[in-house]
């Protein structure tokens, strides 16, 4: 009968878990856009940063180099890759340097006289036409004749070529075999992805698409494909982090299982003890899928780490079982303290919710639901399933000796002020900056990747990702006009060598005013025909050959000026669309900078412009964003700390007892901070999250050590439970501390140090354990 009920309960529990699992599989939509883990931007620069991080032209650009084969083969591969990728909706722009008039829509061809600056300097008069026609005649007798012959009737002044040159990348690489080549003999391409740059999952797919297309090309066997760019880096960084986290995770899981087997000598107990944590995890994800349309991948990764606290609940239950006593009774005695621990952890994690950052709010929903589910299933389900009789750990000789050792430790009252002073001194003398604001420093890229990026970027003349020139105006035309006025100054800067190239929106589309001005300069049909007749007198061109040219000029005279909207339909318009963006009620022009050498000169340009243009330093903006982010988390933590003091005091019904729990926890937390700072570690957001996790664990140690049951056996069981918890935490996070990736090391080191300090201080500062023990003896 008893067994039957147990089996039924276990089956029901497993069934419930399966149901949750099904719900999760049905509803879970994971997202990997890092931006949902950033706080809402407050300044205009931060807002721009958030957009640029995802959608800016620089962040979506992938640099591609093909190598390992003769140039002719590589050029063929380069053309093949362009053909394949251009047809793929995942990429908005694929260029390899091959000149293609197709980039200018034929419907837009008459616009060439409005888009090119030639007419600003040079009227279409007889002298100009005569010179141009003579040059064309020379061209026709040269080897280049076949290139120009088709163009000649429509465009004898080669205005389309002038435009193509104007729109070519500011510092185009060398062209061999018709496509771009690096000095090292690699064929170069630029690919702009539709996916946001810092969405590693979408970028991974875009990169996989390029690799597949390349491998599918005939003749690609033996050739190499090399990629670079922000999107590629985000993929590399997340893959590296995942690989290392995975193998560390596997090792520590094995260690963890062995440790628990050693501690409890029961496979059944071990398997059952896994159920509360599994329930917590599943319930957490299920809650997320119900509350949020998309769940962030980082939420899950961090969430499982933070949920590690819940593993303590079943461990406490297992360690505190008394000989001959049924598990339900042991739990009942333990429950008030366990409930306090659960509530405290929930309050700490509530701080994430108060931060207002979407990703962290998800984290809070996940962990709080998970902790409650794990806690309550430990209380109300697990004990009914555990074997009726279990070994009482209190009788183990080594534990008796260990407890005696712990009890004999001196507990001087001055330990608290000593630790406080020590932490304060260490913090004061610590070298370097306190906060690490550069998130990229936590997932650093191998030096050779960065060198390769710099080399390809220089070869391709691709813009730097860090600086942008921002032009603001109420209308798109206003932006274009300001951009045009800026062009001479910018050209002067480039000529002076302040940068290799600066690209402004007006490079691709002049303002309507300028286009109308150029229209005004175009001759009417009669004038043009007269000039053309005079210019071609004595030259062997067929009469009427230039009729298409005359027709184009005539059409250009009455065209409505080209707008960004109309331009957007053509491939080059897409390029412009990335540089001219609409923001609530006004427009922004984004100028890109390549090969910047003199930041001060650009700053001076921005300052001298009277607000027409600003220099946006995306790195600085991101650091200010991180600082703002941290401030919010710290404020939320301060609130959570107050709540925690209240909760502990109320549940222990004594300020003095609350002090004995909270003081070691607080001191240990600051001691971890101090030790890391003295070791030269700059504190990042990941350190903060890890400190909170360690704090949650430390709170458990302090709560249980502080508990006075007046029973030495029970004190021994507490020590046993705490030792198992401490060792398992050290095992998992100590392994992470050896990781070579800073973000994993930051979490591992912080939690390991924290667990060690919390354990020592909560023993040394537990006031009356020895007294109780002595009395009982």
């Amino acid at each position: 009968m008893r067994t039957g009920v147990r089996v039924a309960l276990l089956a029901a529990w497993l069934l419930a878990l399966a149901g949750l699992g099904w719900l999760v599989v049905q509803r879970l939509q994971a997202s990997s856009d890092l931006r949902s883990f950033m706080p809402a931007p407050t300044t205009p620069d931060q807002r721009l940063l958030m957009e640029q991080v995802g959608e800016g032209p620089g962040s979506r650009l992938l640099l591609v180099a093909l190598g390992g084969k003769p140039e002719a083969t590589l050029a063929g591969l380069s053309r093949g890759l362009v053909a394949r990728l251009s047809a793929d909706p995942r990429y908005t722009q694929v260029v390899n340097g091959s000149f293609d008039l197709g980039t200018l829509d034929t419907r837009l061809l008459p616009y060439r006289y409005l888009l090119s600056p030639t007419l600003d300097r040079q009227p279409l008069d007889e002298a100009y036409l005569a010179d141009q026609l003579q040059q064309r005649l020379d061209d026709l007798s040269s080897p280049a004749a076949s290139l120009l012959e088709g163009l000649l009737p429509r465009d004898p002044t080669l205005e389309t070529l002038a435009l193509a040159r104007r729109w070519a990348p500011p510092r185009a690489p060398r062209v061999r075999e018709g496509v771009w080549f690096s000095p090292q003999g690699e064929a170069l391409l630029l690919v702009q992805t539709r996916a946001a740059g810092f969405d590693p999952e979408a970028q991974r797919q875009a990169i996989a698409g390029i690799e597949q297309a390349f491998r599918a090309l005939p003749g690609s066997a033996g050739a190499t494909l090399v990629l670079s760019g922000p999107g590629y880096f985000s993929v590399v960084a997340s893959a590296q982090t995942r690989t290392q986290a995975d193998w560390i995770g596997r090792i520590s899981t094995v260690g963890f299982v062995l440790l628990l087997l050693l501690a409890y000598r029961s496979v059944a107990s071990l398997l059952l003890a896994a159920l509360p944590v599994a329930s917590g995890a599943l319930a957490g994800i299920a809650a997320l899928t119900l509350v949020y349309p998309q769940v962030h991948g980082i939420t899950l990764a961090f969430g499982f780490t933070l949920l590690g606290v819940a593993q303590e609940y079943p461990i406490r239950v297992l360690s505190h079982r008394r000989a001959g006593e049924d598990a339900v009774r042991s739990v009942r005695d333990l429950w008030p303290l366990l409930l306090t621990a659960i509530a405290s952890a929930c309050i700490a994690y509530l701080a994430f919710y108060a931060s207002g950052v979407n990703g962290l709010q998800q984290l809070a929903v996940f962990t709080i639901t998970g902790l409650l589910a794990a806690g309550f299933s430990t209380r109300y389900l697990l004990p009914h399933l555990l074997p009726a009789h279990a070994r009482d750990v209190a009788g183990m000789p080594w534990l008796v000796r260990a407890r005696r050792f712990v009890d004999r430790l001196p507990r001087p009252r001055w330990i608290a002020p000593l630790v406080a002073v020590l932490a304060a001194v260490l913090l004061a003398i610590a070298p370097g900056r306190f906060w690490q604001n550069d998130l990229a420093a936590l997932t650093p890229l191998p030096a050779d990747l960065l060198q390769r990026d710099a080399r390809l970027r220089a070869a391709l003349g691709a813009p730097d990702v860090r600086y942008l020139l921002v032009i603001e105006a109420p209308t798109a035309q206003g932006v274009l006009e300001r951009s045009e006025r800026l062009e001479p100054q910018v050209d002067a800067l480039v000529a002076r060598g302040a940068a290799d190239a600066i690209e402004l929106p007006s490079r691709y589309l002049p303002s309507a005013a300028t286009q109308r001005e150029r229209q005004r300069r175009l001759p009417d049909r009669a004038t043009l025909e007269r000039a053309l007749a005079q210019a071609s007198a004595g030259l062997p061109f067929r009469p009427d050959l230039f009729a298409p040219f005359v027709a184009d000029v005539e059409a250009a005279r009455t065209l409505r000026p080209l707008t960004p909207q109309a331009f957007a339909a053509s491939p080059l318009g897409q390029r412009l669309a990335a540089m001219l963006v609409r923001r609530e009620g006004h427009w922004l022009g984004l100028g890109t900078v390549s090969g910047l050498r003199d930041v001060a000169a650009l700053r001076a340009l921005a300052q001298g412009s009277g607000g027409a243009v600003r220099l946006l330093d995306l790195k600085q903006a991101s650091e200010s964003l991180v600082a703002a982010y941290r401030t919010r988390i710290l404020q939320a933590l301060a609130g959570a700390a107050l709540l925690l003091v209240l909760t502990i005091s109320l549940s222990l019904r004594s300020l003095r007892r609350a002090w004995h729990v909270l003081a070691p926890m607080t001191l240990a937390t600051f001691l971890v901070l101090a030790v890391e700072r003295v070791a030269g570690v700059e504190i990042s957001l990941f350190h903060l999250v890890a400190l909170i996790l360690a704090g949650g664990l430390g709170l458990h140690y302090a709560l249980f050590f502080e508990r006075d049951t007046g029973d030495p056996a029970e004190q021994r069981r507490t020590l046993h439970a705490t030792l198992v918890c401490v060792l398992s935490a050290l095992l998992v996070f100590g392994m992470l501390a050896w990781a070579s990736i800073p973000v994993l090391r930051a979490i591992g080191l912080t939690v390991s140090l924290g667990v060690a300090f919390h354990f020592c201080l909560s023993i040394l500062m537990a006031p009356h354990a020895r007294d109780g023990h002595v009395v009982q003896e």
Binding site: E71, A72, A75, F99, L137, D138, L140, S141, S142, P143, A144, A145, S146, L147, E149, L152, P153, V175, R176, E177, G178, V179, P540, F541, R542, P543, L545
Partner: protein
């Protein structure tokens, strides 16, 4: 036995024509660097009268060709490493890829193979037809095998006498023709050439 000798003589007869072509091509070969005077008349759809230029053509070995024009303007074009570089008096050099000018690639292929006496290379790129007469005058007609190339260049015709090539005709698919008079014949380019007068010149008239 009879059958066997019949087959042998058949195959000998079948291979005799290409052999003669091969011999002719081998005989046309010159050691690099090889230079020759040239005068070119281009008949183009866009022009009423042909364009005439003259100067020197040079094969510098490998795939490197140089076309040095002295009249009416100084201009040097050099084709090397898949690239064409043009240098005009008083202007900066311009270059473009050979990929973009199939006519030039055909020119390089045929010219280099002929001057190198390399019948194999010539046959790889072109279908070759040969006509000759008893007086030693001959005509080679090269038709590009590559379909893409044939779309722009219909054929190349070389007229010669004995071991000398006299003229080169490049017939483009759109009807344009470029006629190059080579060697001593270059000096005899008429002031107002027509296709007919050039054909007569090339036949040795």
């Amino acid at each position: 036995m009879l059958l066997c000798s019949l087959i042998l003589s058949w195959s000998a007869a079948a291979s005799s024509a290409p052999d003669a072509t091969g011999e002719l091509i081998a005989a046309l070969g010159r050691p690099a660097p090889a230079r020759t005077a040239f005068a070119e008349a281009r008949f183009m759809q866009v022009l009423e009268r042909p364009l005439v230029v003259s100067g020197e053509l040079a094969w510098l070995g490998g795939d490197t060709l140089e076309r040095h024009v002295t009249r009416p303007h100084e201009e040097t074009a050099r084709i090397a490493g898949g690239e064409v570089t043009q240098q005009r008096a008083g202007k900066s050099a311009r270059s473009f890829s050979l990929e973009r000018a199939p006519q030039l690639r055909v020119l390089v292929d045929s010219f280099v193979a002929l001057l190198g006496g390399d019948a194999g290379r010539l046959r790889k790129a072109f279908a070759i037809a040969r006509r000759g007469d008893a007086a030693g005058a001959w005509t080679l007609t090269l038709t590009p095998r590559d379909v893409d190339v044939a779309r722009t260049v219909a054929s190349i015709r070389i007229d010669g006498q004995g071991r000398e090539a006299r003229c080169m005709w490049m017939q483009e698919a759109d009807g344009d023709v470029a006629v190059d008079l080579l060697g001593p014949l270059a000096a005899r380019m008429p002031d107002a050439p027509t296709r007919e007068s050039l054909a007569t010149l090339c036949r040795g008239g």
